[in-house]
């Protein structure tokens, strides 16, 4: 099969910086530059940048913008000026279509940032639901590029090109003007560190990348991003969550606000919660060397108890993983993870593995 991979506005810049380019959900993106371990270290100790231009931006505008978002989200969407809300978009069955962040630009306008692999489905779903509301839904994903600048020094570095951005609170958005174009900065990320994500039109992305390179920011790839997000306990939609799982099973019960008046999937969630869940997403830490990966079987008391959905080598915690296993297996329980035919002892642990003071 041949298909043309989509390229972000930073594809050439990433290749020039030594990026090893791979197919990620149809996008040509860098999996690493010089070393995943060095990139991980840069983000945990200073800062690094990721081209996340493949992610989607969907604008919801109109008198009932907030009403539509409340209806398609199981979380309560905050509507204070510039506030952002992490939420799950659910099916009628209460299972996860996508996890996303909705940022309030005004009482009648929100910017929703969604996962790259879900843009088309999210947009179609939101458009379908929007028919009942006075609202317009626009897919702006092809217009915007985005760089995630992450790490303990990231916001200070961002402040050098965006003076005053240090004052932007966590999980908030701000309109910016940079390199002659309008864009957005959000104080968010997918690494467990402080940082910002900067959105600009495609034409301005190389200027942004080069300005950050000049400030000494290390380019980082998808490989480091995956280690960082797993350490931080963030879901990877499509692996750790999908349309067979509810937020409760995905260890994200806190995202569900059943007290909300109404939202898609509410009735199903109430019924499923009352019935209880057979399996839940649990976290594991290997007790001896090895690298657990997606697909590895998990054994508990001699019998297979589930399968890993994500796993990696963490420079901080060694072999770490998450996977769906019987919900009654508690934190502290001893399990075994089968890696290349070898059963490796592991312990059920709490998430996140890593927590910074942000």
């Amino acid at each position: 099969m041949t298909h043309t991979l989509k390229k972000t506005a930073l594809c050439g810049a990433c290749e020039a910086a030594g990026g090893k380019m791979v197919d990620f959900h149809g996008w040509l993106l860098p999996v690493q530059f010089d070393s995943i371990l060095a990139e991980h270290k840069a983000v945990r100790e200073a800062c690094g940048m990721f081209d996340v231009s493949h992610m989607g931006q969907i604008r919801v505008a109109g008198k009932e913008a907030l009403h539509l978002l409340q209806y398609i989200s199981c979380n309560i969407i905050k509507s204070g000026a510039h506030e952002g809300t992490y939420f799950h978009m659910l099916t009628e069955q209460g299972t996860i279509i996508d996890d996303a962040i909705a940022f309030c630009l005004s009482q009648e306008e929100f910017l929703v940032v969604v996962n790259a692999a879900c843009v088309d489905e999210d947009f179609a779903w939101m458009t379908k639901q929007a028919a009942a509301f006075q609202v317009t839904v626009t897919n702006e994903s092809d217009r915007w590029g985005m760089i995630a600048l992450q790490g303990p020094t990231a916001v200070g570095v961002a402040d050098k090109i965006l003076p005053g951005i240090v004052d932007l609170p966590r999980f908030h958005i701000q309109e910016i003007e940079l390199f002659g174009a309008q864009g957005y900065v959000t104080r968010t990320g997918y690494t467990g560190e402080d940082g910002v994500e900067i959105m600009l039109p495609n034409a301005q992305m190389e200027a942004l990348w080069n300005a950050l390179l000049k400030l000494g920011v290390k380019p980082c790839g998808l490989g480091a991003r995956d280690v960082l997000r797993l350490e931080a306990g963030y879901l990877l939609n499509g692996a750790d969550a999908d349309q067979t799982k509810t937020p409760y099973e995905a260890n994200c019960g806190w995202v569900v606000k059943l007290a909300k008046e109404n939202f898609i999937g509410k009735a199903a969630l109430e019924a499923k919660k009352a019935a209880g869940f057979k399996t839940k997403l649990k976290a594991f830490k290997l007790k001896t060397p090895g690298v657990p990966r997606e697909g590895c079987k998990v054994f508990y008391q001699g019998a297979q108890a589930g399968v890993l959905t994500s796993g990696t080598y963490s420079p901080l915690f060694k072999g770490i993983a998450v996977g769906y296993v019987a919900s009654d297996i508690a934190v502290g329980a001893e399990v075994e993870i089968e890696i290349h035919g070898r059963k490796v002892p592991a312990e059920v642990v709490k998430t996140p593995f890593y927590k910074n003071k942000v």
Binding site: Q32, S35, I36, L37, P289, G290, V291, Y313, H340
Partner: protein, 126 residues
């Protein structure tokens, strides 16, 4: 001592160096560059009998697992214990301290089936 020139290679990037009745086995510099960030080596058990071409070891990097094939048949008589505490030695010294294991050859003539450096380099476009 072995180096790139006096080793013989598999197309799958393992090298073998004949040392008396044993073959020392490792992976090529090209392979360690491609794998990068090696964090764990699952070495074979000493005493295990392997056939040429048999998968008998796994090298784990952050991003992937790579299977390692025995270049020749025989018995595993030694493994590089240094890799249990310092797996990145394979990245730093693929043709020296980063060797993986030694095979006591059942049929030394099998070495003739392996590629010399020029032929191996041709397979990786060098």
């Amino acid at each position: 001592m072995y180096n790139e020139e006096n080793c013989r290679f598999l197309k799958t990037h393992e090298w073998a160096f004949v040392e008396g009745e044993n073959a020392v086995v490792g992976i090529s510099n090209h392979a360690q560059e491609e794998i990068s960030d090696i964090v764990f080596v699952d070495l074979p058990k000493v005493g295990r009998t392997v056939k040429a071409g048999e998968n008998c070891c796994v090298i784990e990097s952050v991003k992937s697992a790579s299977e390692i094939y025995a270049p020749v048949s025989g018995e595993i008589v030694a493994v590089n214990e240094a890799l249990t505490t310092d797996p990145a030695l394979v990245n730093r010294e693929p043709h020296a301290g980063g060797w993986l294991f030694k095979i006591k050859m059942a049929n030394p003539a099998e070495v003739n089936n392996l590629l010399d450096l020029a032929a191996y380099n041709a397979t990786i476009g060098k």
